[in-house]
C-alpha cells in the first residue's frame, strides 16, 4: 500500500446520546479508491462527516496527509480534501457556474477576485461533469442527477488530493449512475485523486474500488479487496439478508444479487 494519506485511529463518536462509531481504524493510501459499504444506520455517513471535518466532537485520532485538523486549519484542509454530501433534495437558487465557483473558496482570499486559474478550474470541472449546457441554470431547476453532478463538479473545482463522497449515485437513474462512476474512476486513475465513497450498490463499489470497508453497528466488520468482498456468505452476515453471486459476462468479478429481494 502506498503512503497513507488518511489515517484513522480508534475513532468513536456519540450523536444525541448514541454511540454511532465505536473505535474505527483505517489507513487509506494516496491515490486509492476506497468504498465504504454497510447497512443503513451503520455509521457510514457519520464516518465520512468525521473525516470531512463536519463532525468535530469525536474521540480518537484522524490525520490527513500526516497532520491533524487543528494543525491544518480550515482553508489548508479544504485545499487537501473536498466533500460531496448525500443528495437529499437540497437545492439553492445559485446557478451551476456560481455554485461550482464556490468550490474555489479555499484558494481565494477575501479581498481578491477570481484569477484565470480559478476560471480554468471551474470550466474544467463543469465540462468533466457534463454540465456545460447547464452552466447558467439554477440548481433548483435541475434534475436530481444533474444536481448531483454539480455537487461533484464543485468538489472537483476545489482541486484537492482527496475526494470524499456520501452515496454519490443513490437516487440517480442508470445514465447518471454510470456518469458518476466513470467520473470518479477517471479522477482516481488518471488524476491520482484519492477517492473515499460510501456506496449502497455493492456492484458499483466492487467494480470501482481498490479496497472496501464494511461498517456494521459502528465498527469495521470487514475490509478487503473487491474479489474478497464479492462473497455471498460475507455480505449476508454484514447486511443480514441473503445474497447470491453469479459470474458476470463482462468482468472477472462475480456479480452480486441480493437474494432476499427476489
Amino acid at each position: 500500500m502506498p503512503d497513507a494519506i488518511i489515517q484513522i485511529k480508534d475513532l468513536s463518536i456519540d450523536l444525541s446520546g448514541n454511540e454511532i462509531l465505536k473505535g474505527v481504524s483505517m489507513n487509506i493510501g494516496a491515490g486509492e479508491y476506497i468504498s465504504i459499504i454497510g447497512p443503513n444506520g451503520a455509521g457510514k455517513t457519520t464516518l465520512v462527516k468525521c473525516i470531512a471535518g463536519i463532525y468535530t466532537d469525536w474521540r480518537g485520532a484522524i490525520t490527513i496527509d500526516g497532520k491533524s485538523f487543528a494543525d491544518h486549519g480550515s482553508k489548508t484542509l479544504a485545499k487537501l480534501q473536498s466533500y460531496v454530501p448525500q443528495a437529499e433534495g437540497r437545492s439553492t437558487p445559485l446557478t451551476v457556474e456560481e455554485f461550482v465557483t464556490m468550490g474555489r473558496y479555499p484558494h481565494l482570499s477575501a479581498f481578491t477576485s477570481l484569477k484565470s486559474e480559478d476560471y480554468d478550474a471551474v470550466g474544467k470541472a463543469i465540462e468533466s461533469a457534463g454540465l456545460t449546457e447547464f452552466r447558467h441554470r439554477k440548481l433548483n431547476t435541475l434534475s436530481g442527477g444533474e444536481r448531483q453532478m454539480a455537487f461533484i463538479a464543485a468538489a472537483l473545482a476545489q482541486e484537492t488530493k482527496i475526494l470524499l463522497l456520501d452515496e454519490p449515485s443513490t437516487f440517480l437513474d442508470y445514465r447518471h449512475q454510470a456518469n458518476v462512476a466513470a467520473l470518479l474512476k477517471k479522477s482516481c486513475r488518471e488524476n491520482g485523486i484519492t477517492v473515499v465513497a460510501v456506496h449502497h450498490d455493492i456492484n458499483t463499489a466492487t467494480s470501482s474500488s481498490d479496497r472496501l470497508y464494511a461498517i456494521k453497528d459502528g465498527a469495521i466488520a470487514f475490509s478487503g479487496t473487491p474479489a474478497e468482498t464479492a462473497d455471498s456468505a460475507l455480505l449476508g452476515s454484514i447486511y443480514g439478508t441473503e445474497f447470491r453471486c453469479t459470474p458476470s459476462p463482462d468482468r472477472p468479478l462475480p456479480y452480486v444479487i441480493s437474494g432476499g429481494a427476489l
Partner: protein
Amino acid sequence: MKKPILPLLILFLLAGVALFVSPLFGMKFIPYNAAGQERDILLNIRVPRVLCAFMAGAMLSLSGMSFQALFRNPLATPFTLGVSSGAALGASIFIRLGLTFSFLGISGTSLAAFGGALLSVWLVYGLTKLKGGFSTPTLLLAGIAISFFFSSLILFIQYVSGLTHSFRIVHWMMGTVATADFGKLLNLLPFFGIGSLLLAFLHREMNLFMVGEDIAVSRGVNVGLVKKLIFLASSLMVGGVVAVCGPIGFVGMMSPHICRMLVGADHRYLMPASLLFGGLFLAFCDTLSRTLIAPAEIPVGVLTALLGGPFFIWLLLNRKGDLEL
C-alpha cells in the same frame, strides 16, 4: 461569466433619483429653490428624513438577506425571528431606566438595542439548532415565541411608564422615521457602515452557508467565526435601525426576495442589490406615509406591514415542499 450588471445599474439610478426627489414631497410640495422657512423644512427635516429612511431600509434589507442565508429560509427576517423585538426591548429598557450615556458618540439607546438584537439572534439560533434544523415550522415558532415574550416585556415596561412616556413608546413601536434629523442620521451611520462592510467581505461565505453548513465546512470556511461575524453584523444593523426608527417590519423579507429574482442568489450581486432596493423601498414607503393622508401621517411601519403581510402569505402559499431560498 454572466453578470447581472443592468438590474444593478437600474437600481442604482432609481435610488439616486428617489433620494433626490423624495424630499420634495410631504405635507406640502417644496421645490429645491424654496427660501426661508420652507427651505429649512426641506433641508433640515425632509432631507435627513429621506436619508434616514433609505439607510434604515438598506440595513433591514441586508440583515434580512444575511439571516436568510444563514438559516437557509426565506422567512427568516429580523421581524419574524424576534430580533426586532429583542432590539426594541433593549431600547425600551434603556429609555425607561432614563439612562443617557453614550459611547464614542453612539447613543446608548442604539447600543442597548444592539444588545437586545444579539440576545434574540443567539436565542433563536440556539433553539432551532437544539431542534436539529432550520425547518420553517421550528424557525417560525422559535421566532414567534421570542417575539411574544419580548413584546410582553415591552408592554409591561409601557404599563409601568407614565402616560406621555408610554404614548411615545407606542408610537415608536409602530416604526417611524418621522423624528429623523441629522443627529439620528449620524447615529445610524456607524451601524450601517460596520454592518454592511462586514457583510461585503463575507459574500462568498454567505453563498456557502446558503447551500449548507457542511458544504461551508468542507470548502474551508471557518464556520464558527464567520457565523458569529454575520450575526454580529446583522444584529448591529437591526439594533441601529430599531433604536432610531422602531421595529419596521417586512422590509427585510420582501427586499432580498425581490432582489433574488432581479439579480440571482450570488451574494456578490445580491448584497448591493438588497442594499439599494431596501433603501429605495423604505424611502418610497416613507414618502407615501407623508403624503397619503396629508396633513396627517401614517407610521411607515404600518405601511410596510400592510404590504408585507400579504407578501408573507404569498411566500407561504408558493412554497415547494419546505421553503427554498
